[in-house]
Amino acid sequence: MDVLFEFRSVSFSAPSRDKGGNSTRIIEDASFQIERGKFTVISGPSGAGKSTLLRLFNRLADPTSGDILLDGKNICEYPVMDLRRRMGWVPQVPVRFNGTVEDNLRLPFTISKAHKYSGAEIKSAIDELKGLKLLNDELYTRKADDLSVGEAQRLNLLRSIALKPGILLLDEPTSALDPETSDVLLTQIDRIQKERELTTIMVSHRPDEVKRVGEQVIRIKNGIVRTDGEIAGDLPNG
């Protein structure tokens, strides 16, 4: 097994909002591995800690204890901004920035001090994104605020892969979609994953999705993580 990520006894507590208050334990002693190039699904009921777990991968938050290894090296040893640029992250609630859809896609290329892109590079990258046909052509010049939630989710997916990351972190990317559209999007994600050989880690609480795309499943319930290679999991509420 070609291990990309390894979690070793990772726990996470959310710091208290009030001075001297107690922190809330959300992830409890999680140990598991993620295989390179595979489609991993994190599944579990609402409030289980799925989103929290996903944010640990790209260090939007750090574990309270335990280690996360990437290619055998603690993720804290990589410069954090470079680490994040290796991963695309799609938040559970789609985020749009002011301007058109295309402006939103240009954003990843303009926000890093360390990495500069020429106008031509940006244009060809955006053309390539458009070529994926995730959004209808006429949408690119529209204001991002005017998109439907489902369209905005696809915009978020496009923006997250703009920098050609090797790892994709998706937090319920189909949550706002009807079954049909979500099926289409899932197929597209699966296609992109295969084409670009992305290691994809997707949060989903829908058994049908888990079954369809999950090559590896991580089940989480009340912060307790269980892994099983088998898709037909042993936790009934998975």
């Binding site: 750090d62 901004m81 890093s112 001090k113």
Partner: protein, 262 residues
């Protein structure tokens, strides 16, 4: 006195108080219910200004520049506690941040105006330093309060956007650029508006004082301008510094948004 200023005794003040009595009466009969606040306000203003007047007599006699600076430092400290008190959710370590920012902006501008602009040793006496410094500190206090409040509010409402920017490899400064810009503008707009309309509707305070004490209105205008410019400089420096320093509180060194502070 030969400066043309009418001498006022407490009796004159008491007569002026008649207007407040009218206000209290009106509020009472109309049922507006602000009598109590008015009375408290009047009592506080009388006490505070009487004490201030009495204190300034002593302060203006201070010969030591260091003692004067010490008084200004203390004023800055009081201002930073006031600013923190006005924040809905002050971040930990707010007092040092506020104090450094308030002091840096107001002291730099005060020094600039008195040493370079007035360019006269008299400007370095308490009679100039204390009122000018007080104005700078008070103005900066308002600015930094507005900025802090707005910054916090924007960080909270733009939390999701900020995290997307971070996930794309932006540093904390870039990720929070938009909230910072909003906070900065919110703090500076009152000052810019004041510059725009100054002298059009009312004669600004310092000018009123100088003109009433029989000074040349043109000199008075120049005084007023120098003070306005000092206030602009002080505010911009303090607000910029305050935002930059508080950014370091809202984010971890690893460019993670500390959402528990929002």
């Amino acid at each position: 006195m030969d400066d043309g200023l009418i001498n006022v005794e407490w009796l004159n003040v008491i007569i002026a108080l008649g207007l407040v009595a009218v206000a209290i009466g009106l509020s009472y009969f109309q049922g507006f219910g602000i009598e109590k606040d008015l009375i408290v306000g009047v009592i506080r203003s009388v006490l505070q200004l009487a004490i201030l007047g009495w204190l300034l007599v002593y302060v203006f006699n201070i010969q030591s520049i260091w003692l004067t600076v010490l008084i200004l430092v203390a004023m800055g400290l009081i201002a930073s506690f006031t600013a923190k008190g006005r924040m809905k959710r002050p971040y930990p370590g707010a007092i040092p941040v506020l104090w450094i920012s308030i002091t840096a902006g107001s002291f730099f501008s005060l020094a600039y105006i008195t040493i370079l602009s007035f360019s006269d040793p008299v400007a370095l006496t308490p009679r100039y330093l204390i009122p000018l410094g007080g104005m700078a500190i008070g103005n900066v206090l308002n600015g930094i309060t507005l900025a802090s409040e707005r910054f916090h509010r924007e960080l909270k409402s733009q939390k999701d956007m900020i995290e997307v920017l971070l996930s794309l490899g932006a540093d904390a400064y870039r990720a929070a650029a938009e909230p910072m810009r909003h906070a900065f503008t919110a703090a500076l707009i009152p000052t810019i508006n004041a510059l725009m309309v100054i002298g059009l509707i009312q004669i600004p305070g310092v000018m009123v004082g100088l003109v009433m004490s029989n000074q040349d209105p043109q000199v008075a205008a120049r005084y007023q301008l120098m003070i306005m410019f000092m206030l602009v400089g002080a505010k911009v420096i303090s607000v910029t510094l305050g935002l930059r320093l508080s950014l370091k509180k809202y984010f971890t060194p690893e460019h993670q948004l500390r959402s528990e502070l929002l």
